[in-house]
Amino acid sequence: MKRIGLFLLSFMLLSGCGQQAPQKPWGLLNLTGHMPDLQFNLTRDDGQPVDQSAFLGKLTLLYFGYTHCPDVCPTTLADLGTAIRQLGAQANQVQVLFVSVDPARDTPTVLKKYVNAFGPWFVGLTGSQAQLQALTKRYRVAYRLGEPDAQGNYTVYHSSAIFIFDKQGKARLLAGFGDKPDVVATDLKRLLAE
């Protein structure tokens, strides 16, 4: 029974769900119904507390990282920027929340400069460990600070997942490092057309 459940779940995930007429599959992994709605209490890159209500009404992409991440994080953000640029006039209906899980180094000022380097659609967020843990647990991702070296530098282990929420804050799709901007753009357009 459990196996059948898993099979059905994977089938639903793969097929894009639903018992009606076959739908065109999404390019990204379909999360609809499998992850909770967008919800958090964090600090925005202007230093002000903020929750999810400030971001409803647009598509929201949620990604966890840190600014002392010179490789995977900027590559991911640059690729998302490329995808959003492909939306043309609809680009302003999309926002990317870059949640730093390294609040000790990522002050709002540092975060703001970092996200602004990628385009106007990026917002930096961070928070207390309790706030960050509440959010990462909600989306079943993890993070961990590495051991500092002799200079006090440390790396941060973080998820590569990009959660995509619709305008109502419902979790819809999952992207990751290496997903082609064309594929992401196609799915974002489809969400915007709903």
Binding site: D71, V72, A78, Y114, G146, Q151, H158, S159, F177
Partner: protein, 141 residues
Amino acid sequence: MRKLLIAVALMSIVAPLYAADLVVSNAWVRLLPGDLPLAGYVHVVNSSPREITLVSASSPDFATVQFHQSMNHAGMEEMMHLAKISIPAGKSLDFAPGGYHLMLMGRKQPLAVGQHVALTLHFADGSKQTIQFTVRGATGK
């Protein structure tokens, strides 16, 4: 005649390779604001008949340059510091986003897009090679 032409063509391609042991292309650095660490990327071909081992890297523009490798284990990203990297004879190595990269830390002066950064690779046999990296913006453009 045709063989001769091919031979001449091959020589013209191969000859410059022996000027340096590593043939490098597409060397660039992704600029980030402030004093955040930067990643350097380059495609490297070992054109020599022996294995080359990179043991360190340095730049007059940075306090520290390290070899790093990003890895994804079950959806978790991590970055490993590598003490050395070996490239077998005739093989290439891609320092590229999401994999091997040069981590540049401690900027000695502000950098701007379009500038060049000199970075020297030090080999296990005591030799070294300096490469010019072009500074690109955060988006890689």
